[in-house]
Symmetry: C2
Subunit: 419 residues, 2 copies
C-alpha cells in the first residue's frame, strides 16, 4: 500500500492540470515531453507539522534526514549509499569584499556529482513499481549516477550514449555493469531512442527532466544548505545551469522551506550558463510571465556537463527563477577555467568545469559590483574535477623538468622565490 | 604554548628510544630514515578519561570527532575541509557465506583517497611550526592529497614526481597550485631529492613514513569504523598495503581503542598486497619477533597506488601486524580487476585498483574457506576509481554500437535477454 498522504498531486508546469499522485510516470500528456514537466505538490500542512521535528531528531547522515519533504513513501527504497550530506565550507576569507561566502561541495557523492541526489529518487520509484530495468540517454554525470546507484540497488541499466562520447566516461558506465549502447548519432537521437526503447519494454526512464522525482531529489541540496546554516538562508545563491533541472530543484527547495515556515525568506537564485550554451538565459530574458518561448541552439563550451543546446527542463528553469525573483547570467570559458583553478588553488576544492561555472558567476558579479559587502552568498559545486581531468590540462602550467640534482632544483627554487 | 599533556613521547619503532613530544620532526637519528620511524605515544590515562565523552558529545562530521586520540593540540590547524567522516556500508547481502560484511568507502574524501586522513596532520604540524612550504615525492594519492589540503590551508607545496608519471596525475597537482618538479629519474631518486631539498630550505616533508603524524592520521579510519559499529569491532579487517603506512595506522588505532577500554578486542588485521609488489608480505613471512629484515624488489602490478618495491613503513607494517596477530596475503592483478568490477557492479562503489585489492583479499580468503560464516568482516576502500579511469578500460566489455533505430536496439536487447 502506498501512503500518499504527503504528496497531494502532480501538476503540469505549463497548463496547470493536476493529476493524482503516481497517476503519471513522466509528463503531462496534453503539453508533451518538453513543456509538460510535472511538479510534485505536497500536502504542505502535513509537512509543516512534521518537518522540523523530523529533521532535528534524525540521525541520518544524508538526504534521508529531509524525508517529510521528499517524494518517497518508503525510505528503504533509496539506494543503500550515502546520497548528499555533503560539506558546506565557509570561504569568507576569499575576499574582503564579501562578509559570508559558502561553498557546497557535492563532489564527494557516490558517483562524484550532484546528480546522485536526483537519481536516488528515480531508483526508488522504479523499485516501488517493481521495475527491474532503468534507462537514460546521457554522456555524463546523469549516466554514471544512474549506473552506479542502480547497481547498488540491484537494478539493471541500459544507457544510450552518442558514439563520440569520451572512452573514459563510457568505461565508468561499464564498470558499474551498465549495458551501454553507443548510438551512431547525436545526443538528441540517443535521447529519443532511449525514450522509445523505454516505452517498448516498460523500463523506467531517468532521462533529464522527463521525470518529476528528479527535480525533487535536486532540491535536497537547498534543504541541506539551509539546514547547515541553521535555517538562516543566504541572500543569493549561484548555480550552474545546463538542462535546467538542478536550478529548478534548488528554487523549489528554498521556496518550500519558506512555505512551511522553516525559513523566513528565500535566497535570490542566480543561474549561471556558459556563453556558448545559454538557451535558458535567453528564454529567461524574453520571458514576461506568460508562455516560455524556446529557441534551441548549437551548444559550445568546454564545460561539457552544461554544454546543452536543447535544455529539457527549460520551462521550469525559466518560470521558477522568475517567480523566485532571481536571474541568469553568462560566463566565458576563460572565466570558467579561471574559477576552476582559483577554487582548487585557494580552497582545495577541485570542481569540474561545469561546477566551477557557478563560482565564475559569483566572481563576475563581484567584479561588476553587483553584490553588497554584507551579502551572504552560497555557491553550489555540482561535480568533481576528477570527472574530466583532461579539461584542466590546458589551464595549468607545465611542470619543471630537472635531473635528480640538488643544484638544479635550487636554481629554480630561488629563481621562483619559493625558498 | 603547546599543551602536550596528551602526547607522552615519540618512540623509535626499532631501538625503542623515546623522545620528547615535538623533539624530532621525522625519524630516529640512531636508526635512520627507514628503520627509525617514530610512534606517537599518548598519555593513555588521560585519553581514557576523555575519549568517549568527547566523541559522543561532538557534532563534528569528520575526524575532528576523535580529537583526544589525535596528535594535534589545536584542532584549528587542520585544513578547513571535511577529512574522513566517510560512510560504512553494510554489504551482508553480498554472499550467504558471511553474516556481516562492512565496506568503509574513503573515495569521497576531499582529494578522493584515504591519504587525506594523514595529510591533514602533516599540514597541521607544518602550520604549528609556522612553516610556509611543504614537500613530498609521490606520483599518486599522497601528492594530490598534499597539494589539495595544503592549498586549502594556504600552505605552498613543492612536489617531486618521476618524469614518467601520467600527465593526468601531474595535472591534478598543478590545478591545486603545486610547484611540480618532474625528475628525470626513478621514484626513489625523486624521494631522495625531496628529502635533500626539504633539508636545505627547512620545508616540512610529507613523504611516506618519514613523519610520525601521518600514521596517526591513518589510524582515524579504524576509529571511525569502530564508532560506526557502536564500538563492537569486526573480527577481521582487510587492508590494501603498499608503503605500509595505512595498515600501521589501522593496527595502531584498533590497539589504542582496546587499550583505553573503549572496545573489548581488536580485529585481526589482514594486509593484502599485489603479488608483484609483496616486499612487506615477504618480510612478514620471515619475521620471528626480532629484527625486521628488508629485501626490496622491483614492483610490478596494475594497482599503481600500491606498486611499491621499497616500502618506507615496512618496519611498522611488519611489527604491528605481528603484534596484532594478523597476517599478510597476496592477490593477482586478475583478482584485483575482478574485485574492482564486482564492487562497482554489485555495490555501486567504484574503487581504484589499489583500493579494490583489499576486497580481492577478502574474496580470496572467502573462496579458500579461511573465514567463518559468523565472522564480522570490515574492508577498507582507500581510493576512488576516478583516480585511474584508464585502468578499468581493459576490465570491461565494449559498448554495443548501433544506429539510432529501435529495431537494431530491440534485436540486441532480446538477444541479451535484457527485456
Amino acid at each position: 500500500m502506498i501512503n500518499t498522504s504527503k504528496i497531494n498531486s502532480l501538476r503540469c508546469i505549463t497548463c496547470g492540470t493536476t493529476y493524482e499522485p503516481y497517476e503519471l510516470d513522466y509528463t503531462c500528456p496534453e503539453c508533451g515531453a518538453r513543456r509538460g514537466t510535472l511538479e510534485v505538490i505536497y500536502n504542505y500542512d502535513k509537512v509543516r507539522e512534521e518537518f522540523l521535528d523530523f529533521v532535528e531528531s534524525s540521525d541520518e547522515p544524508d538526504i534521508r534526514k529531509y524525508e517529510p519533504l521528499l517524494p518517497v513513501e518508503d525510505i528503504g527504497l533509496l539506494p543503500p549509499l550515502r546520497i548528499g550530506g555533503t560539506p558546506l565550507y565557509p570561504y569568507h576569507d576569499m575576499t574582503d569584499e564579501i562578509d559570508e561566502l559558502w561553498i557546497k561541495d557535492d563532489g564527494g557523492n557516490p558517483t562524484a556529482s550532484y546528480k546522485d541526489r536526483a537519481t536516488a529518487f528515480a531508483v526508488a520509484e522504479a523499485r516501488r513499481q517493481g521495475l527491474k530495468t532503468m534507462t537514460c540517454a546521457s554522456t555524463g554525470n546523469a549516466a554514471s549516477s544512474l549506473a552506479g546507484l542502480a547497481a547498488s540497488a540491484g537494478v539493471e541499466t541500459v544507457i544510450f550514449v552518442p558514439k563520440a562520447a569520451p572512452g573514459a566516461k563510457i568505461a565508468q558506465l561499464l564498470v558499474y555493469g551498465a549495458n551501454v549502447f553507443a548510438v551512431d548519432g547525436s545526443y538528441d537521437q540517443a535521447y529519443d531512442l532511449a525514450t522509445e526503447v523505454a516505452g517498448e519494454y516498460g523500463w523506467y526512464n531517468r532521462s533529464a527532466a522527463m521525470n518529476p522525482y528528479l527535480v525533487e531529489g535536486k532540491k535536497s541540496g537547498a534543504l541541506e544548505m539551509a539546514h547547515q546554516l541553521a535555517w538562516d538562508v543566504p541572500d543569493r545563491v549561484f548555480v550552474s545551469v545546463g538542462d535546467g533541472s538542478i536550478i529548478s530543484g534548488i528554487c523549489k527547495g528554498f521556496k518550500e522551506l519558506e512555505k512551511i515556515g522553516v525559513t523566513d525568506k528565500k535566497p535570490e537564485v542566480i543561474g549561471v550558463q556558459a556563453e556558448g550554451a545559454d538557451t535558458i538565459a535567453n528564454a529567461f530574458d524574453r520571458y514576461e510571465g506568460e508562455e516560455v518561448t524556446i529557441e534551441d541552439q548549437e551548444a559550445y563550451t568546454m564545460a561539457d556537463s552544461i554544454s546543452v543546446g536543447k535544455p529539457r527542463d527549460i520551462v521550469k528553469a525559466v518560470k521558477y527563477v522568475y517567480e523566485n525573483g532571481g536571474r541568469y547570467m553568462r560566463v566565458s570559458d576563460e572565466e570558467i577555467k579561471e574559477a576552476q583553478v582559483e577554487l582548487a588553488r585557494n580552497r582545495g576544492v577541485f570542481a569540474e568545469p561545469a561546477a566551477a561555472t557557478a563560482c565564475a558567476g559569483f566572481r563576475q558579479a563581484l567584479a561588476n559590483g553587483e553584490l553588497n559587502k554584507d551579502d551572504r552568498i552560497g555557491v553550489f559545486i555540482t561535480g568533481n574535477g576528477l570527472k574530466d581531468i583532461d579539461a584542466v590540462k590546458e589551464s595549468v602550467p607545465e611542470p619543471e623538468v630537472v635531473n635528480p640534482e640538488l643544484s638544479e632544483v635550487k636554481e629554480i627554487v630561488e629563481e621562483k622565490g619559493l625558498n
